[in-house]
């Protein structure tokens, strides 16, 4: 077990889930703003990109070097959602769709969190050796 990569993909997944929750929260808050376009991200492809970018991030040439995460969250590409129905004021938010996506996103956040929690517990059990 490599302690530097103890949490695997879940560390980045948590970050990205929070970012996505923010985007969805902005959509819901702006449900009554004229002309606002609902946005979302392609979670899987962004996460994949994040993971592969991390591998090609600063290479550690000495065992004392710390690993780095080479991916800036500001680089995430947001796409506009296709509205289910048109509205006169140009707003494309469907509150029920956004709520559902936010709920799903939150559950998946909790799932990643649970896995990290389990890993911490696993590791501390191993450390104690009781």
């Amino acid at each position: 077990m490599n302690i530097e990569n103890l949490f695997g993909i879940h560390e980045q997944a948590l970050n990205l889930r929070i970012q996505r929750a923010q985007v969805l929260a902005s959509n819901i808050s702006n449900a009554d703003t004229p002309g606002y376009k609902a946005k979302d991200m392609e979670f899987n492809s962004v996460l994949k990109e994040m993971a592969s970018n991390q591998k090609s991030a600063l290479s550690a040439t000495h065992k004392g070097h710390l690993s780095s995460n080479g991916y800036g969250i500001a680089d995430i590409e947001l796409t506009e959602r296709k509205p289910l129905q048109t509205s006169l004021d140009g707003n494309t938010v469907d509150t029920q769709v956004e709520s559902a996506k936010l709920a799903e996103n939150n559950m998946r956040y909790l799932a990643s969190l649970r896995i990290i929690d389990m890993k911490i517990k696993c590791f501390s059990t191993a450390l104690r050796g009781e």
Binding site: Q19, V23, A25, S26, S29, D32, M41, I73, I76, L102
Partner: protein
């Protein structure tokens, strides 16, 4: 930590919706107001919403995704006010007319339901974000 941005976004959402409820309340309260001239008559008010970039507020690199909401303007309806012949009214003009407000009560009621639903959704969103934070804080316990 950026989860707090959800609290900001939801808080701004609740703020603007309660302002919207406030304008609806004053519109409904003044629906029956009368005035002595069309210029003085109460005109129904409506807030104008627009988005606001959160990263401009706290200058953090990773917050480009969050967009808040604010009220930029409150517009008065320019719909014609109705004149009513009521010579006994102390506010009646020389011809015996008083001028009613141009508030449409049915419109305002529908708007009120929309505003309170939006407020609820924002409050619910904040509760969900709070739950996520609590779980995160309890990590490893």
């Amino acid at each position: 930590m950026s989860t707090f941005n959800i609290f900001d976004v939801a808080g701004m959402g609740m703020g603007v919706q309660s302002l919207r409820l406030n304008t609806i309340a004053s519109n409904l309260a003044n629906a029956e107001s009368v005035a002595s001239s069309p210029e003085e008559a109460y005109r129904s008010r409506h807030p104008v919403f627009s988005t606001v970039q959160m990263n401009a507020m706290n200058d953090a690199m990773d917050d480009a995704a969050a967009v808040g909401i604010e009220v930029t303007d409150i517009l008065e309806s320019d719909k014609d006010v109705q004149a009513k012949y009521d010579p006994n009214n102390p506010k009646a003009d020389a011809n015996g007319y008083v001028y009613l407000s141009n508030v449409n009560v049915a419109d305002q009621m529908a708007d009120m339901i929309s505003a309170s639903r939006s407020y609820q959704t924002n409050a619910e969103m904040m509760r969900a974000a709070k739950e996520l934070m609590q779980h995160t804080i309890n990590l490893g316990k």
